[in-house]
């Protein structure tokens, strides 16, 4: 145990670990992460098996990378704790004794003599130090009087606060990784879907895409409603950068796509024998429209985005892209079916031939519009509040470490042949230039 603590208390270990973690991280940016085995085989050939086995292909989630991070945090904890007690002592229980020789060996120092009494001088020095906001501790020795003044004493804890922030962030990361949950729901307009692992559901009321004048996408907006206990609990327009949060679950606009469940089709009807008839009928698949003075009924039966016949002569779709869109319609006149068949948007003549033969009417698939689904990412991340807390400590620690510079001034006041001698010595860990100026101002103040 002791040797383990000794091992982890070494700053050299921290440097070595930082170098290893940095090198490993670089490796992870050079090898594409999380691809398929086939892709690695194509890219790296025989090496790919080994790479997958040592998890270079999912490096940041690999046991050895996480192990390195854990070792590094252990190192940080031990190093910080080992150095803390002496630091606490230095800041809160400073030694109220200092040899004259040591005081004189400091880089920033001065010596004054006055005719005032020791008591008087003591008060004068204290006032000078107070005026520069120094905190004072004093002690009376046999032959002299000692003052210890310190300022911004918490400054020495900057690095500890940074380390604390880092450890909190790491803890948050571990919690996110172990207890976090993330999935994507593809949800259609009007559809209500249960949220996985939660006892409430999500409904998409409306989905729209906004475009810029040049045609590129400006925004995707999903109007979402959370339904909890059969009640509408919360409604919000979710767009990229503007998620919705409900009971610790966050809903993000993440993707979108087309679906062909019940697209809208527009059918153009003309009559060979009567040029006055030219009607555009818009209806959804499954619906029926009445037209031509109530005499004709049109049923839109089904829609295929990419029409093809398979080897068994069945109608199937080759893809979800509208490469060969076709709609199957039925037309009924006075309860008698006068036409049924496929209309192809790309081959209008095909249906016209068929329908004209039977009715004189001609049908054409003029337009169609797919339904859209919205891809909503759902995330529950219990680690995230720790991350923000850690970030605050991290930044606070940086500020303290670099800009809250502690300084100390030690003063010895003694009687010397009827006169009073003051010896001052100061030190600051950083920014010695500005401390020097302050030191001189204090001397000036005492001289006055």
């Amino acid at each position: 145990m002791k040797s383990l603590i000794k091992f982890f208390s070494s700053v050299k270990l921290a440097i070595v670990l930082l170098i290893i973690i940095t090198s490993a991280s670089i490796l992870g940016t050079l090898v594409p992460q999380g691809r398929s085995a086939a892709e690695y085989a194509a890219r790296y050939g025989q090496m790919s098996d080994l790479m997958i086995r040592i998890e270079v292909t999912r490096l940041y989630q690999s046991w050895w990378y996480i192990g390195l991070l854990l070792m590094f945090s252990m190192n940080t904890i031990v190093c910080t704790l080992m150095r803390l007690p002496p630091k606490l002592k230095k800041a809160f229980q400073p030694v109220l004794e200092f040899e004259q020789k040591k005081l004189r060996s400091l880089k920033i120092k001065d010596q004054l003599e006055t005719n005032e009494t020791v008591e008087h001088t003591k008060e004068r020095v204290k006032t000078a130090l107070f005026s520069r906001r120094y905190r004072i501790k004093e002690s009376t020795k046999k032959s002299y009087f000692f003052i210890f003044a310190q300022k911004k004493r918490l400054g020495i804890f900057g690095s500890d606060v940074v380390h604390l922030g880092l450890l909190i962030i790491l803890a948050g990361g571990i919690i996110s990784g172990m207890a976090g949950f993330r999935t994507t729901l593809s949800i259609k307009e009007g559809q209500t879907l249960p949220v996985p692992n939660e006892d409430f559901s999500l409904r998409l009321d409306k989905f729209e895409t906004e475009y810029y004048a040049n045609g590129s996408v400006k925004d995707w907006k999903s109007t979402l409603t959370v339904i909890d206990n059969d009640k509408e609990a919360l409604s919000k327009v979710v767009e990229v950068n503007h998620p919705l949060t409900y009971k610790g679950v966050v809903f993000y606009q993440s993707s979108y796509g087309l679906h062909w469940d019940n697209p809208l089709v527009e059918i153009h009807v003309t009559d060979k024998n009567d040029a006055s008839i030219s009607e555009y009928i818009t209806l959804k698949i499954g619906d029926t429209a009445v037209f031509s003075n109530q005499r004709l009924e049109l049923h839109a039966m089904s829609f295929i985005p990419d029409f093809v016949l398979n080897e068994r002569n069945e109608v199937v779709t080759r893809s979800l892209e509208p490469n060969n869109p076709a709609v199957f319609i039925k037309v009924v006149k006075e309860r008698k079916e006068i036409f049924s068949g496929w209309l192809f948007a790309k081959y209008p003549d095909f249906a016209r031939m068929h329908s004209q033969k039977e009715t004189g009417l001609s049908f054409n698939l003029a337009n169609f519009k797919a339904g859209q689904y919205s891809g909503i990412q759902i995330a529950r991340d219990p680690g995230v509040s720790l991350i923000w807390a850690g970030c605050i400590f991290l930044m606070l620690g940086f500020f303290i470490a670099f800009y809250w510079i502690p300084s100390e001034i030690r003063v010895i006041i003694e009687e010397q042949k009827g006169r009073t001698r003051i010896i001052l010595g100061g030190s600051a860990s950083k920014k010695t230039e500005s401390f020097k100026q302050e030191f001189e101002k204090i001397i000036e103040f005492i001289r006055k």
Partner: protein, 272 residues
Amino acid sequence: MNESMLFLIAFILYILSAFFYFIFLFSKKGSFAKKGYWTIIIALISHTVAMVLRIFESGHAPFTNMYESLSFLSWSAAFAYLFIERKFKIRKAGPYFMVIVIGLMALASSPLMPKEATPLVPALQSYWLWLHVSVTLFGEAFFAIAFVTSIMYLAEKYKEKKGKISPSGLTAEKLDSISYRSVGIGLPIFTLGGLVFGMVWAYKAWGSYWSWDPKEVWSLITWFVFAIYLHTRLVMGWRGKKSAIIAIIGFLAALFTYFGVNYLLSGLHSYT
């Protein structure tokens, strides 16, 4: 006066200021360093107006493509130089640092960088675009100062070894300390803009504060390099040459995070 005109004026003025600084370097006449300093201020005004005009024209933050962000990085670098120059009097570093500013401006104006402002894709429509990118680049500008002073440190040491002692006040020791102080300014800013604001925005836009995207990893790598810099320096007492080399590596890592990742690696951050 339109944006590209003002940008060009700023570019010419940066070159002019470098010219003044180089004259100062060889003639040792302080008046030329002063001229260089004021030329940077005028250049910065022109550059600032150019960026403001672009913001009004495009209606969004001026960091959405390589031209815009390079222009902002040059602006930050010039600003950072003025700041450090006022604080630490490092005008001998002026000529070298202005070469970096000019290099960035030249890269921004090269025909390889598309200049037209395109409408923002949905993921970038957020005020976090302003905070994340500007603060990160501003932090990187201070790494650039550390980079230049570190290189100057190494050169100065090399000269000392050959028996030449620099007559001016900018000693190797001072260069070493300015380099450290620049890291002290740059690292907190970089951490806030790059890592903290980056995580907050990623959480809002992508639903995850950390995705091990190459740009994220490289900003972490940059951060690790500076962590090594601080620990070797403050705990193990490394100074001078070793410190300078780590600061140089740190800046190069930051540069790769900013530039290399976009062109050599692909990921979530590929917007242009």
